[in-house]
């Protein structure tokens, strides 16, 4: 088994230093990145990460008396590699803010209330078709402190393991039709409009199932010409 790895197309990836996002100016390398010949070391990578990390369930919306506040939603996600082939058995880590735009995190303490019934993180495995389903509530938008009016649009974070070290991806998914998408400094750091579109989920017209939940569909491509842009 060997994997052909092509360089990522720069236009489909975010610029590294972003105006109005101060941390990017002190944390991204000044020197040009070094091109290296790929060897076995980069064209292998951790397989079966599920054997090394603890999986957390794919239902984070809660049940009964312990239901999270917010719009119930199901996310149907599919993970494919550069050839469009499903990435089966891949570990996908997910985290998001609650419906009020608040994370369960010690650094997030300045604005919106936490929801005692919402932790906001999951760790799942893709099935044989590279798919999985997450039951959650739609995250809220939140203001970025000291940023001159920048709000993050509703989004969900993903960390994905592909088949090799070079396929590792951390990205975010956005929601269609959100006005804040137009001014988000992270989403719009990707120069190519078509690549930005690949970060936005598709709204699936309601069919009555699953009951009381909106459905969004999303596809993540780990590398290649149609790769999903990184988003940190």
């Amino acid at each position: 088994m060997s994997t052909l790895i092509t360089k990522r197309d720069e236009r489909t990836q975010p610029v590294r230093v972003v105006a109005g996002y101060a941390q990017t100016q002190v944390r991204n390398p000044r020197e040009p990145l070094v091109s290296r010949p790929p060897t076995l070391s980069e064209l292998t990578g951790p397989m079966d990460v599920a054997g090394r990390v603890r999986l957390l369930g794919g239902d984070i919306a809660g049940h009964g008396e312990r239901q999270a506040i917010g719009q119930l939603m199901h996310l149907k996600l599919r993970v494919v590699d550069e050839d469009g082939a499903p990435v089966a058995g891949a570990v996908v880590e997910i985290w998001q803010a609650n419906a009020a735009g608040r994370y369960i995190h010690p650094n997030d303490d300045d604005h919106a209330p936490p929801d005692p019934n919402f932790y906001g993180a999951a760790r799942l495995l893709t099935d044989a078709s590279g798919a999985f389903e997450l039951r959650t509530v739609k995250p809220g938008a939140y203001p970025v402190p000291d940023s001159g009016g920048w709000w993050r649009p509703p989004h969900i974070h993903f960390s994905l393991f592909g088949k090799v070290w070079l396929s590792r991806l951390v990205t975010q998914m956005y929601f269609p039709g959100e006005p804040l998408n137009e001014q988000d400094r992270i989403l719009n750091a990707v120069p190519d409009a078509a690549a930005r579109e690949r970060l936005v989920a598709r709204f699936a017209p309601p069919t009555g199932e699953p009951r009381n939940a909106l459905v969004f569909e999303h596809r993540i491509v780990l590398r290649g010409r149609a790769a999903t842009p990184a988003q940190h």
């Binding site: 790895i5 610029v15 100016q25 990145l33 076995l40 990578g45 995190h105 906001g120 970025v144 990184a230």
Partner: protein, 176 residues
């Protein structure tokens, strides 16, 4: 310009449970113990002004003591050490320090012994990748780095590998 600190970051990045207990110890796996010399890698991660970065995520990937990768692309993978997974994750503490406990990798085919690093953090727009070496030597990846910067990829002592994301003495990162 004001540089925001931990209290005014863009938003919490990885969730608290992202790094499992023991994820930075690669010497045990599935009830087995890895073969080879147990080593500890420590280092500090800083930004341009030298400020340490807290709760930054590092991941490593490496060959086993025999220089074999536990992955089907390695022609020798059937002989890989069953007690060694090869991947680990750590978060930096409030002083920017991280620690991995692992085994010293053997030399993979055509390479010097090395450990691949990945850096993830808020303010990094993408994953940053670098590689730690144990000594100077003829290696295609080390050779790709400008001669004057190669020493920044070589661990000091047993084994200290500091990472500076930007500025004087900046760690070389790869564009792959």
């Amino acid at each position: 310009m004001m540089i925001p600190t931990g209290e005014a970051t863009i938003g919490p990045f990885f969730p608290p449970r992202y790094v499992d207990e023991g994820a930075n110890d690669l010497t045990q796996w599935q009830g087995g113990t890895a073969r080879g010399e147990v080593i500890e890698i420590r280092g500090r991660v800083v930004q341009e002004d030298g400020a340490p970065l807290e709760n930054l995520i590092l991941e490593i990937w490496q060959a086993d003591a025999g220089g074999i990768y536990r992955h089907p692309a390695d022609p020798r993978h059937a002989q890989a050490d069953p007690g060694f997974f090869g991947w680990g994750r750590a978060a930096t503490d409030a002083q920017g320090n991280y620690r991995f406990r692992t085994i010293r990798p053997g030399a993979p085919h055509g390479r010097q012994p090395h450990i691949n690093f990945m850096v993830m953090f808020s303010g990094l727009m993408r994953i940053l990748r670098t590689t730690m070496f144990f000594a100077e030597g003829d290696d295609p990846v080390l050779r790709a780095v400008p001669a004057g910067r190669r020493n920044l990829l070589i661990a000091k002592g047993k084994y200290e590998f500091n990472i500076r994301l930007r500025g004087e003495g900046e760690t070389p990162f790869f564009d792959d």
